[in-house]
Symmetry: C2
Subunit: 210 residues, 2 copies
């Protein structure tokens, strides 16, 4: 699992219509534009959002926007990918530090709910991608499920989870995480992330059957 | 669990801006409009969809539309509720016939994936409700989770599943179902609904821990 965090640092951020910066200052400007885009798209939705709204929030000139992105579509596409990577990078250290496969999933869910509480706009943005940019939407979930599946298979190889875990389990765990993040991260914070993750870890460990 | 199916027949279909028909013919016309609306919103999305597109697909006059619905928003709202009820009614008999609580969840998931394969537009419509009609979106998931939670608690009372099952488990199961329906119902049909549901039933019964 150590490779996940390492990979995160080397994956290029560029997507079509998105021109990678070459300097530290350029990377900071591009980051400021993405943060502003998260606020603009999260509050106003894709159709109401505007490039001028993004540059105003970011405090950068319109020309700076076009240095890094071709269009509103391009910055949206880059933002979906950026948020997907942010989630991955936020949960990676706790997953890596977990003593076994079930504990890793527990840490991933707790970390995800924490992330969502601090970035509630993530649901609106990724969900709107289903309509605005279906390829990004699909890629986000396909990549996430592959990552969970790879973790489960590594855990099975170490004898920590049952043999035969595969894609169905990965999609099941991703679905649980997405909906528990919506319920306990966005809608209301009436349970701690740790409590929610404990219940799911127990479900994964031994089920709820009698 | 027998009550779920019974209730389905008695819940009034009316939502605000939606005028309930009083005759069998009226119910057929309203149903034809809802079926046409599912196709229109599913193919074109809410913003591109039009009332005239719906009446053309339904083969009814514009006046008939306004007999039952006030606006495009009203028919969309009624459609989300109708699809939510259709899913519930489609899976209810198999859930009711299941010998125990875990088997009921297995039957619910298999039935849901079957339903999705025949009504792939359901994802686009319910997901778009997050933006077009957030109240319907929230109500669909809150109601579904409550129904799963009630089933789990009844199963716990009968000694079929662990005590302490609650809202977190209900949301976890709903999330699995939604994402497994997306993966194996909408994206690709490379596993049978029964195979997917078997894997989830085993996960619920005994977990994947070692």
């Amino acid at each position: 699992m150590a490779r996940e965090g390492d990979l995160a640092a080397t994956v290029p951020a560029a997507t079509p219509g998105d021109k990678a910066p070459r300097t530290a200052r350029g990377r900071r400007t591009r980051q400021a534009i993405l943060d502003a885009a998260a606020a603009e798209f999260g509050e106003r939705g894709f159709h109401e959002a505007s490039i001028s709204g993004i540059t105003r929030r970011a405090g950068v000139a319109l020309g700076s926007f076009y240095t890094y992105f071709d269009s509103k579509d391009a910055v949206f596409r880059a933002l979906v990918r950026h948020m997907s990577e942010q989630v991955r990078d936020h949960v990676a250290p706790a997953i890596r530090a977990a003593p076994d496969g079930i504990a890793a999933e527990r840490a991933g869910l707790a970390g995800f709910i924490e992330f969502v509480r601090a970035h509630k706009e993530i649901y609106r943005i990724i969900d709107e991608a289903e309509f605005v940019d279906p390829e990004s939407f699909r890629s986000h979930y396909a990549t996430t499920a592959e990552r969970i599946g790879a973790r489960l298979q590594a855990a099975a190889a170490r004898g920590e989870v049952a043999d035969g875990v595969g894609e169905v389990h990965a999609w099941a765990i991703m679905g649980m995480n997405v909906f528990l993040g919506l319920r306990y991260g966005v809608w209301a914070e009436d349970r701690t992330p740790g409590d929610v993750a404990d219940a799911v870890a127990a479900l994964l460990q031994r089920g709820i059957g009698r």
